[in-house]
């Protein structure tokens, strides 16, 4: 029996504690913004804000995909390496195979995403926990990556249009990567919140057995969620290559930790305990501001990592203390 059973109709007005739990993380993001703005005027310049958004666009795309996997109750520990693989593939296909940009992009997306399908099949057919299946898929993706490029970066001049993914501006104003990230976030948001598939994925994540007994195709939901996660990672990896200007085998790796951090931070916002696309967006923004702000203040490079870790522990421990998040 739960002790917090409340049978009386609750008041319409949200009380302070509810507000704090739903919007605390957003509040923290605003606070970080204000602190950096006061510390350094440059932080709030239009140029810098645009800079931050461009910097976080790749993470936004990767994290949105990962959010769907976490919402379905699965982990995806292969996003970093899948992003890395898609990144070198798109470079190699353009430079070595002389494929057109769209074809190179599509083939890299298919390759990266198919690893998600494999993970999904391992999870749903062989009943391997996703934590393990995707942990194994990471090195497999990395191995394929090295097999393709011999472990060396792919240096070459890409077609101009490809660089536009990272540096172009629509109408000379809005940076293309921001636009791509916003579209991806929007699509994933609608998918999770407004579609039948999204509802089924969220239900599966909340209670696999109950969802199965409700007639939801839980296997398909988990397979699709892991596939979408790999799709997000692959898109992020391609954007990354466009930004770096080279296909670097190890470029995707750091994005695993960053995207997990973003999703967990996001789980403390809006709907505490649940992975939501909007929550993850807040998480990504917090990470982006911390990196950029500390940089501007001339903080030593290692401080970025320390602060990120501390912020994550603070946010999650607050949520755990309030009983809003339970892990496993």
């Amino acid at each position: 029996m739960s002790v917090t059973t409340s049978v009386r109709p609750a008041r319409r007005r949200l009380d302070a504690s509810q507000l704090a739990s739903r919007y605390g993380t957003v509040g923290a993001a605003l606070l970080i913004f204000v602190v950096f703005a006061v510390a350094n005027r440059q932080f709030v310049s239009a140029n810098n804000i645009s800079n931050i958004l461009v910097q976080i666009s790749v993470l936004m795309v990767i994290s949105s995909g990962l959010t769907v996997a976490v919402a379905s109750g699965e982990f995806d520990l292969s996003v970093g390496q899948v992003a890395g693989l898609a990144g070198v593939l798109v470079a190699g296909l353009m430079v070595w195979s002389h494929l057109s940009i769209p074809l190179a992009i599509i083939l890299s997306l298919i390759a990266g995403t198919s690893l998600g399908v494999v993970s999904g099949l391992l999870v749903t057919r062989l009943r391997i926990p996703s934590l393990i299946a995707t942990l194994a898929m990471g090195p497999i993706a990395l191995g394929l990556n090295y097999a393709y490029d011999g472990g060396d970066s792919i240096y070459a001049t890409f077609p101009d249009a490809f660089y536009a993914i990272a540096t172009g501006r629509v109408g000379g104003v809005v940076p293309v990567p921001i636009l791509i990230a916003l579209v991806v976030v929007g699509v994933f948001y609608v998918l999770v919140n407004r579609t039948r598939l999204g509802r089924a994925i969220v239900a599966t994540g909340a209670n696999l057995q109950a969802s199965r007994l409700s007639g939801i195709a839980v296997g398909r939901c988990r397979l699709i969620a892991l596939t979408l996660s790999a799709l997000g990672a692959s898109m992020g990896g391609i954007m990354l290559t466009a930004r770096l200007g080279t296909g670097q085998p190890g470029a995707g790796e750091p994005y695993l930790m960053d995207s997990l951090t973003a999703v967990f931070l996001g789980m403390t916002a809006f709907k505490p305990g649940r992975a939501t696309v909007q929550g993850t967006l807040v998480g990504v923004i917090i990470i982006g501001m911390l990196d950029n702000g500390l940089n501007l203040l001339g903080a030593p490079f290692y401080l970025q990592n320390e602060v990120r870790g501390v912020v994550m522990i603070a946010a999650v421990s607050l949520a755990v203390l309030r009983g809003e998040i339970r892990f496993f």
Partner: protein
């Protein structure tokens, strides 16, 4: 009069927006079995949690041996001689009985666990209470009744003076619970103060000395069991009397094709010779716990496979459903037992829970039609009288009875939209639900039948089957062959047929 072991006065506890306990006095006496009853959300759990040190009260004090005591943590209460056996047995399957009993109190030699001493100590303890169990066996091979007794023995290892039992007989067979009560009677004889929490009124009237009734966080009655009747207790708990409504059958004509008919079906170790349910009929499945009721219902609902199947007609299907989705598409709905594990989408809202069974119906081109969805949920909330702040309230914040209504609501949302008579498969549908909500769920099941649903219901409470069913199939010795008509139903008869 027995010696007072513990005197609590004015215990109060608030959780953010809810008053869980509003100043309750409670006396626990040596050699007395005290029943603590109340509807879900009445404050029983909170009271027990305060007394065992798991929750700090906001107000009030606890006096033991003439001195005020304060339990800041569970260890404090244990040190004061208070032990609790929670509803879920806290027995670790991979350890043997002795290791479980002595968990945390293992005798040691040179800092290492003395296994021989451990077994001896556990056997001594069990022997003291006349318990004859093989304590060297791994616990995952024991049945629930044995586990419960081990769990209580484990509580007794700390040599407590007060033993609190939360729903000890939930999901126990009759033989198991009889054994438990014999054990408890012995403990009472030895001067232990026993606090017994149960939804099973017949157990309370058969075994307890005194009864305390809680309602909405306050104590509304405290007196000897002998001086009160069941209807009075029920009235105190729910604030009104539960009317035993006139029962009458809604079953369709005898010659009409049944909605469900099984012949020669094997599910697990259960063999079903013949079973049928007609439109408008409520048919029961009686058996001891684990006799295969759950397996049979899940098989008919498409959630598991039969081992062998002679002939089956289920809804419009000429075979057993191949998946839950196929079953649902043919208006075959399962209300699973164990709602927290198998029915509720924890952490999600009422809306998301109710709609989980009809995602296809509320979507167009893959997109959820939010207006229609919300309308559907509001209708379910109104129809079932679910007490909540709105469709977006989290389902775990509801009381047990309301949670179960949400589970029913998942299918109600479909049934109302369909013209075919559905087949409802109910597995212990009122488990852990208070008596008021139980009556409402009975009303709902009858209403389904009146409107043409075929209902197959398994219940651990035979009184439930008697209250609801046209006929009851009895499972005895892995076989389901006997079918008792309503006129032949009585708790004694059913117990006789299944044991």
């Amino acid at each position: 009069m027995n010696e007072t072991l513990l005197q609590a006065s004015g215990l109060g506890k608030r959780f953010t927006s809810t008053v869980a306990l509003a100043g309750v006095d409670l006396e626990i006496r040596a050699g007395e079995m005290l029943a603590l009853v109340g509807a879900n959300g009445a404050g029983k759990s909170t009271l027990v949690k305060i007394l065992c040190g798991a929750v700090l009260p906001d107000t009030g004090e606890i006096v033991m041996d003439g001195r005020p005591v304060e339990f800041r943590r569970v260890a404090d209460a244990q040190a004061a001689g208070i032990a609790v056996a929670h509803q879920q047995v806290a027995i670790i399957g991979a350890l043997n009985g002795a290791e479980n009993i002595m968990l945390g109190r293992e005798p040691r030699q040179f800092g290492l666990i003395d296994n021989a001493g451990l077994l001896a100590a556990a056997r001594h303890l069990a022997g003291q209470f006349g318990i004859d169990l093989d304590l060297s066996r791994e616990c995952d091979r024991l049945d629930l009744g044995e586990l419960k007794i081990l769990d209580i023995l484990k509580a007794l290892a700390g040599d407590p003076r007060i033993l609190m039992l939360d729903e000890p007989t939930a999901s126990m067979t009759l033989a198991e619970s009889q054994r438990l009560f014999a054990f408890l009677a012995d403990l009472r004889q030895r001067g232990l103060g026993i606090v017994f929490i149960s939804h099973h009124m017949n157990e309370i009237f058969a075994h307890c000395d005194r009864i305390v009734v809680l309602k909405d966080g306050s104590k509304v009655h405290d007196g000897p069991v002998a001086a009160i009747t069941l209807p009075e207790v029920v009235r105190l708990m729910v604030g009104r009397t539960v009317e035993e409504t006139d029962w009458h059958s809604h079953a369709g004509a005898e010659d009409e094709d049944p909605v469900l008919s099984l012949r020669d079906v094997r599910v697990g170790s259960l063999h079903v010779e013949a079973l049928s349910v007609r439109r408008g009929e409520v048919v029961g499945l009686a058996g001891v716990l684990g006799a295969g009721q759950t397996g049979l219902l899940e098989c008919v609902a498409g959630a598991s496979r039969a081992w062998g199947c002679g002939a089956a007609r289920v809804g419009g299907l000429a075979h057993l459903p191949r998946s839950v989705a196929q079953a649902v598409a043919h208006d075959i709905y399962l209300v699973a037992d164990d709602r927290l594990r198998k029915a509720l989408l924890r952490g999600l809202s009422i809306e998301e829970n109710v709609l989980a069974g009809s995602l296809g119906e509320i979507s167009r081109l893959g997109f959820v039609q939010r207006g229609a969805a919300l309308e559907r949920v509001r209708a379910v909330i109104d129809r079932l009288g679910i007490k909540c702040s709105g469709p977006h309230q989290e389902v775990l914040h509801l009381s047990g009875g309301n949670q179960q209504k949400v589970v029913f609501g998942r299918w109600l949302a479909r049934i109302d939209a369909s013209s075919r008579p559905p087949l409802l498969l109910l597995d212990n549908p009122t488990e852990g639900v208070d008596i008021g909500a139980k009556a409402e769920l009975y009303g709902l099941i009858r209403e389904f039948a009146r409107r043409g649903a075929a209902v197959l219901i398994a219940s651990a409470e035979f009184s439930e089957l008697i209250a609801l069913c046209d006929r009851v199939y009895c499972i005895h010795n892995h076989r389901l062959d006997l079918c008792l008509p309503r006129q032949a139903l009585s708790e004694d008869r059913l117990l006789l047929e299944v044991n």
